[in-house]
Structure formats: structure tokens, C-alpha cells
């Protein structure tokens, strides 16, 4: 299946196009990719991105490219479960220039809503300790630290903290109305 197109007030989330790969290959090659298992050399990044594109076919969920309504590419967000993950994860990455404007939060709320509407009852975000921006965003989205959650195979609490998202606390305005 192709990625469904999601809209938010400022953003469009849609399946990856070739131009995204160029920007993401560049991103994955930098120190900004350290929380994603990078930095990856460009040739490895292409292979990684190709496997990300395949997730919709293989799993029925996957990643979106995030762009502004005028088509400026901002980053990637998705829900994926590689085989060493015990649960499905919500993860996000923005290009450096796109940070600080609340785009990740806006995109994540749309993805969470899509997930709850499509039968998911819980999602996790695996965050490297010290990645304070991601922790803050997870908390703004209504996720809570889940110290009981299983960790990705081969990882310890020193590598990963688990934040859990639930449909009744997704951080959307309705949750607080």
C-alpha cells in the first residue's frame, strides 16, 4: 500500500519522493544522525532509505516525508517495527533548518491520530538518554516514560528510554478539552 496523505494546518505528510532521499542522505551523513544509528556514509544511507520506503508494503505502516503546504521538505516521521523492536515505534527526524517551529509536534499529532484510527492501541518512542529535545517532544505529545517496557534487542537502559503513547493521552487539544 502507498503511504496515505495526511494534512495538518501547516504541513502535508506523504510517501517519500526521490528528492527527499537526497536531503535525508545528506542528513544521515552528519552528526545529527547520531540518535538514529548514524552517521551513515551516503551509500549506506541510500540503502537505508530504500528499505524505509518498503515498510508500507511489508508492514501496512511506515514512514512519511514531511513538507510544508508550499512543498518545502522538512524531514521524516513514521511508525515502524524492525525485527529487533518489541513494539511499533513512532520516530521523527527534522532537517536542521526545520527545527524550533513546532513542526515535529504537529506532524506527530497527525500520525498518532492516524495510528489510533487504524487500530493501534499503543505506540512507543525509543529515545537515547540525553536527547532532551526528543524527550520534551514526547512529553508534549502526552507520552509517558515507561520503565517496564521491553527494550529493542541488544539495548540496555543506558542506550534507550521508552516513552509510551496511548490514544487517551495523545496531546491533541481534544485530550484536554
Amino acid at each position: 500500500m502507498p503511504a496515505p496523505v495526511l494534512h495538518t494546518p501547516r504541513l502535508t505528510l506523504r510517501g517519500h519522493v526521490m528528492a527527499d532521499l537526497e536531503a535525508l542522505c545528506d542528513l544521515l551523513g552528519t552528526e545529527r544522525a547520531r540518535h538514529m544509528g548514524g552517521p551513515l556514509p551516503r551509500l549506506e544511507a541510500w540503502r537505508w532509505m530504500a528499505s524505509e520506503v518498503a515498510m508500507w508494503d511489508l508492514m501496512g505502516h511506515g514512514v512519511w516525508g514531511i513538507e510544508t503546504r508550499d512543498g518545502t521538505f522538512l524531514g521524516q516521521i513514521g511508525i515502524t517495527r524492525p525485527p529487533h523492536y518489541p513494539e511499533v515505534e513512532l520516530g521523527w527526524t527534522l532537517l536542521e533548518d526545520a527545527e524550533g517551529a513546532g513542526y515535529a509536534s504537529e506532524a506527530a499529532q497527525a500520525v498518532l491520530l492516524w495510528a489510533w484510527e487504524n487500530g493501534f492501541s499503543s505506540l512507543v518512542s525509543y529515545i537515547t538518554p540525553g536527547n532532551d529535545r526528543s524527550v520534551a517532544l514526547a512529553q508534549r505529545l502526552g507520552a509517558t516514560h515507561d520503565p517496564e517496557a521491553a527494550l529493542p534487542e541488544g539495548e540496555t537502559a543506558a542506550d534507550t528510554v521508552v516513552f509510551r503513547h496511548r490514544p487517551d493521552a495523545d496531546g491533541s487539544p481534544e485530550a484536554y478539552a
Binding site: 551516503r42 551509500l43 528499505s51 524505509e52 511489508l58 529487533h84
Partner: protein, 176 residues
């Protein structure tokens, strides 16, 4: 079939079709078998092998071609893969082939690869094709030569290290 742009090809004994989620375990088993997969690019961890399986599906999306699953007509089981491979950093599109354990010695790789070569020239419109083979993979070298390919040069492959580039006969010769 999960890859919408993969055609289905047939030979006497085989169906070549796009990769399917149900093929993943057979492919992962092959990739984790170092002895068999080293000439192709094997892995030690299941997660990495699974990533390769997903990479091939993504390759179909990004390039419009990739590795077909070779399915036996008589049993419906996957016997290997063959296709056109050209990820970022590859010297040029190549025909590749893999036969899973239990399916060797029956001419399956040749039957599949010759069909794939015809598809690459007829349907994709490619003008030339190579096969990249690691030194010492004598079975693959023998098959490339039986298909009329000849050694052209040795180069450094980003993934495989030193690699031999064999050049196949062109479309005029193959399509006759």
C-alpha cells in the same frame, strides 16, 4: 505480490515475480548463511538481513526494477532470486542471481537469469548489462560465461571489496 510495478515473468519451470512478504524468511535464512551468502553479501544479524529484504522492495520503488523472487511452478515455493540490481554507488545495472539451499544443480539460476536478461533488454530497454562477481565465486563465474558474458575488469565495490565485472552480450545478440 507487494511490489506494484514488478511484472510476472515465466519460464518452463519458473515464475519470476515481485518479492512478497512471505518470501522474507527464505531470503533471511540465505543471507544469514555465511558460507552460501558471502559471494552475494551475507549478514550476521537477523535485523540486518531483514533490512536487505526491505531494501530490495524499496529498490523496486526507487529504480523501477530489482530482484524477482524465483518461484517453482510445481511447488509454488521460492527457490532463489534473480533480477537487475543498481543501488546508489553501483558501477551500472547488473544481473544477479541466488539459488537457495536445496535448489542448486538443476539449472534454475541460468533459466531465471536468461529470462531476466531478456526482460532487461526488451522491457526495461537497457543497452548493456554486467554481472559483478567476487573473485573465487567459481560457480557464478561459470554461469556468467555459459551465458556468454566475458571478464572486463576488476574494480573496488563499496560493499563487496574487490569485484570482477563481467559484461553480457548486448540486446542485438541476446534478442537475435
Amino acid at each position: 505480490m507487494i511490489v506494484p510495478n514488478a511484472p510476472q515473468l515465466e519460464t518452463e519451470r519458473l515464475i519470476l515475480r515481485g518479492p512478497d512478504a512471505g518470501d522474507a524468511e527464505a531470503m533471511i535464512a540465505f543471507l544469514l548463511d555465511r558460507e552460501r551468502a558471502d559471494g552475494f553479501g551475507g549478514y550476521d544479524h537477523r535485523g540486518d538481513a531483514w533490512r536487505w529484504f526491505a531494501l530490495n522492495v524499496g529498490h523496486w520503488h526507487l529504480r523501477g526494477y530489482g530482484y524477482f523472487t524465483i518461484e517453482m511452478k510445481d511447488t509454488g515455493k521460492p527457490a532463489g532470486i534473480s533480477g537487475i540490481w543498481n543501488p546508489e554507488g553501483w558501477p551500472e545495472p547488473e544481473i544477479g542471481w541466488v539459488v537457495f539451499e536445496g535448489y542448486e544443480g538443476r539449472g534454475i539460476a541460468r533459466e531465471a537469469a536468461e529470462r531476466v536478461r531478456r526482460y532487461a533488454y526488451e522491457d526495461l530497454g537497457l543497452k548493456t548489462l554486467t554481472s559483478n562477481i567476487v573473485p573465487g565465486n567459481t560457480r557464478s563465474i561459470a554461469l556468467a560465461e555459459r551465458m556468454g558474458a566475458s571478464y572486463e575488469r576488476t574494480y573496488q565495490n563499496h560493499h563487496m571489496g574487490e569485484d570482477l565485472l563481467y559484461r553480457h552480450p548486448g540486446p542485438d545478440e541476446v534478442l537475435g
